[in-house]
C-alpha cells in the first residue's frame, strides 16, 4: 500500500450536531480555523494549512451521549449519531515529527463540545516519517537470532512477584526457568531500581545465571530488563545490560513518553521490549481515546521491537477481537520500503488452552507467548509448563486438536487436565 501524501487520521465520532458541521469543527480546531477573523489571515494562507475532511460516513445512532459535557445544537438535530470521519493535514504543517504529530491528530479535539464521543482509530503517515525515524532495529528476525528460536513462537514468562524479590532471589528463579527450557523472561513493569532490588545488582546476578546456562547449553535465554527511568539512567542501564551480555531491555511507554522512547530507540543496541501498562486509561472507554491500531504505529516508528497486546481470554477486560486486531497490526507493514514490524507479546493469564485460538486468529508464529501460572503452576513443574506450551504450538501449527496431540505429549496432557476447559 502506497503511503499517503498528507497525514491521515480516522476517528469514530458521536455528535448531536450535523456530523459534517461537527467534523468541520474538528478540522478547524486542529488546523487553521479561527473563531474570529484575525488581521493578516487570508483565504490562501488558511487553505494552505487547513485540515480536510476526506471521508464521512454515518454508521448509526446513540440513545444517550457516551460522554458528558457535549452540546446540543439550538435547531434541535433530532438524534445523536455516530460516524466515521477521516481528516487529513498537509505534511508541511509540522514536518515529519512524531511529537508534533501527536499534538495534531490527538490534541485538543477530544474535549470539543460538539462531541459526546471521539476516538482515534487509525493513522496513516507520509513516507517522510519513514525517513525521519529508525523504526525497530531488531524486530522479528533480530529477536529470533538473539533468542535462538526459529519456526515457532518465543515462549516467555514474567518474574513474579512483581516486587519483593531481591537480586539473588530473582536470579534463583531465573536459574529454574533456564533449566525449564524457557526462551524469554521479563521483569515486571513494577520492578525497576528500588533499594530492595537495585537494577545493577539484578542485572549482574541474572546475567551470571544466563551466561552460565548459555555456556553449558549454547542457548542464551533472552531477559528483558526493565530500565524505565530518566534518560541518563536508561542510557547507563542499557550499557550495563549490553556489557553483561544481556540481549534485551524493557521500557514502559506511558512512563517514558515519546521523546524518551525516541532517544532509547536511537541509542539502543538491544531489542526494546515495549510495555504498554496504563493502556487502559487511553482506551477502555469505547467512545474516547486511542485504538491500539493507531497508537502502536507511533511507538514502532520510535523503535519498539516488541509490543504488548494482552492475550485471548485474558484476566483483563479487553475482548479477544481487540487483542487480535492489535497483534495483526503490529505484524502489518507501515511503509512499502520500511515495514517497521514489531513482535506482538501475548500475556495475561495465558496457557496451552489459548494457543490454537491465537494461531488461528493470527496466522503467524512471529510472536512472544508469555505465561506466568501457565508455566509455574503446571502440576509437574516449570519444565513441564514450558514443554506444554511448546507442544501446544506444535499441535496448533500441525492443525491437530490439543486433546489429540496430548495423547502422546504428557506435559500438554497434564496442562489440559490442570486448566478449566
Amino acid at each position: 500500500m502506497a503511503s499517503p501524501v498528507r497525514i491521515e487520521a480516522d476517528y469514530l465520532i458521536e455528535t448531536a450536531y450535523d456530523p459534517r458541521v461537527a467534523a468541520e469543527a474538528m478540522a478547524g480546531e486542529q488546523s487553521s480555523g479561527t473563531f474570529v477573523a484575525v488581521p493578516g489571515e487570508t483565504p490562501e494562507l488558511k487553505e494552505r494549512s487547513a485540515a480536510r475532511i476526506e471521508a464521512l460516513e454515518v454508521i448509526g445512532e446513540a440513545a444517550e451521549p457516551s460522554l458528558p459535557g457535549a452540546g446540543r445544537p439550538q435547531d434541535g438535530q433530532p438524534a445523536i449519531c455516530r460516524a466515521r470521519v477521516t481528516l487529513s493535514w498537509p505534511l508541511e504543517n509540522i514536518g515529519p515529527s512524531l511529537p508534533n504529530l501527536v499534538a495534531t491528530v490527538a490534541g485538543n479535539l477530544f474535549e470539543l463540545k460538539q462531541f459526546s464521543g471521539l476516538r482515534l482509530t487509525a493513522i496513516r503517515l507520509p513516507s517522510a516519517f519513514a525517513q525521519a525515524y529508525g523504526g525497530p532495529k531488531f524486530g522479528v528476525s533480530g529477536t529470533r537470532r538473539l533468542a535462538g528460536v526459529e519456526g515457532r513462537p518465543i515462549v516467555g514468562t514474567i518474574i513474579k512477584p512483581s516486587v519483593g524479590f531481591g537480586p539473588e532471589e530473582t536470579a534463583d528463579l531465573v536459574r529454574q526457568l533456564c533449566e525449564a527450557g524457557i526462551d524469554f523472561i521479563k521483569d515486571d513493569e513494577l520492578q525497576s531500581d528500588g533499594p530492595h532490588c537495585p537494577f545493577d545488582e539484578r542485572v549482574r546476578a541474572v546475567m551470571r545465571v544466563i551466561n552460565d546456562h548459555a555456556a553449558r547449553t549454547g542457548r542464551k535465554v533472552m531477559f528483558a530488563f526493565n530500565l524505565t527511568g530518566e534518560l541518563d539512567q536508561m542510557r547507563r542501564r542499557h550499557d550495563l545490560v549490553l556489557r553483561e551480555g544481556g540481549t534485551c531491555v524493557m521500557a514502559s511507554l506511558n512512563s517514558v513518553g515519546l521523546v524518551g522512547m525516541i532517544e532509547l530507540g536511537r541509542f539502543s543496541a538491544l531489542p526494546i521490549h515495549a510495555h504498554r501498562n496504563g493502556w487502559g486509561y487511553l482506551s477502555r472507554a469505547p467512545m474516547l481515546g486511542w485504538s491500539y491500531v493507531a497508537w502502536q504505529k507511533i511507538w514502532r516508528l520510535a523503535g519498539a521491537d516488541h509490543l504488548h497486546v494482552n492475550g485471548l481470554s485474558n484476566k483483563f477486560s479487553e475482548p479477544d477481537e481487540s487483542v487480535i486486531a492489535s497483534a495483526r497490526e503490529c505484524l502489518t507493514s507501515m511503509f512499502e520500503d520500511k515495514p517497521c514490524i514489531a513482535m506482538p507479546v501475548f500475556s495475561s493469564g495465558q496457557s496451552a488452552r489459548q494457543v490454537p485460538g491465537t494461531y488461528a486468529a493470527l496466522g503467524s508464529t512471529d510472536l512472544i507467548f508469555a505465561a506466568g501460572g501457565g508455566i509455574m503452576a503446571h502440576p509437574d513443574g516449570p519444565a513441564a509448563g514450558v514443554a506444554s506450551l511448546r507442544e501446544a504450538w506444535e499441535a496448533a501449527m500441525a492443525g491437530v486438536p490439543l486433546a489429540e496431540y496430548g495423547r502422546d505429549h504428557a506435559a500438554l496432557a497434564r496442562a489440559l487436565e490442570g486448566c478449566p476447559a
Copy 2:
C-alpha cells in the same frame, strides 16, 4: 501538610464485586500479588513490598456499568457500587522515580476485570521526590519578574490562525499585540517547525519585534515559543530562544512525555509553559483515567512553570468546577519545603465576562489569563481588548461589578456590549 512516608494514591472505583475484594485485587496487581504461589516467595518478602488499602468508602451505586468488559462475581453481589479507595506503596518499591511512579499508581489497573470504572483522583508523595526533582525553576515570582507584571494576572493571547502564518506574518501580529499592551503571547500547539514557519526564523522575526518594543518601552512581552520536538531539537531551540533574548518556551506534555519533560526541566534556563493538549483522552470519561488534580503534580515536579487549566464557560466540554479545582491545585503547595507552585493558565473562549467568576473562585491573581477573540475581536481593536481585560481584573479585585466599573472604563464597557450576557 506533612508528606506521607509511603506513596499514596486515591481512586474512584466502580465494581460489581465486594469493594474490599476489588480493592485488594488492585493492590495485589500493582505490587507483590501473585495468582499462583511462586518458588522463593515468602510472606515476609511479599509483605515488605505489598500495596496497602489505607481507606475505603462506599459512596453510592450505579444503575449500569460505566465501562464495558467488567466481570460479575459468581455469588451475585446485588448492585454495582462506587467507592473511594486510597492505596499506599512503600517508597522502596521504586525509589523517588517519576517514570516508575506512573507505572505504579497508573499502570495495569485500569483494565482489571473487577472494575467497570477506575479513576486516579489524587496522589501524595514522600518528600524524597522533592529532593529528587527540581520542580518549577521560575513559577509565579520568576514569571512575573520576566514579564514585568505584578499585582494582577498576566494578560495573554494566542497566535491565530494556529498554522498558516509564516514568520513575518507572525511577527506582524506580534507587533500589533505589543502595541496593544499585551503581557504574554503563545504559539499555538499546532505550530512547531513546519517548512512554512520554521522555528528558528519565527523566533528571530518575533524577537526582533519584541526586543525593539522593549527597547522603546522598557517592557519585554513574554512569548512562549513552542519547541515541542525531540530532545536535541528542544535543546537547540531553547538555546536559540535564550540567545535571542526570549523569556519563555512552551512544550506539549502529551507529545514530549515524562522523560522529555524531565530533561527540558533540567536544562531550561527559561520558564516552561506546559500545554496539556490531548488532556481530553486522559480525563473526559468520568469513571476512567486521570483527574488533573493528580496529573499536574507529576509535571510540576518535572519542571512545568505554567500549566493549562482551560477556563470558565469555555468552548470545550469541561465543567467550571473542574477548571477551578485544577487551577487551585496548581497553586497549592506540594511539599512543606518545596511548594512547586505553577501558574495556572486560563484560556479557551475567555473574555472580560469570565473575570469576576474566575477571581471569586480562585481568590488569587497568580495566573495567566489568555484570550483570543476577547482581545482581537474587541469592537475598538486589540488595544481596547487588552485594556478591557485589565479593567475587568481591576473591577474584580476591587469587588466592583463589571457593569458599574464600565461606566468610566470605556474599553470594558464596549467589551461587555460586544459579548452575549
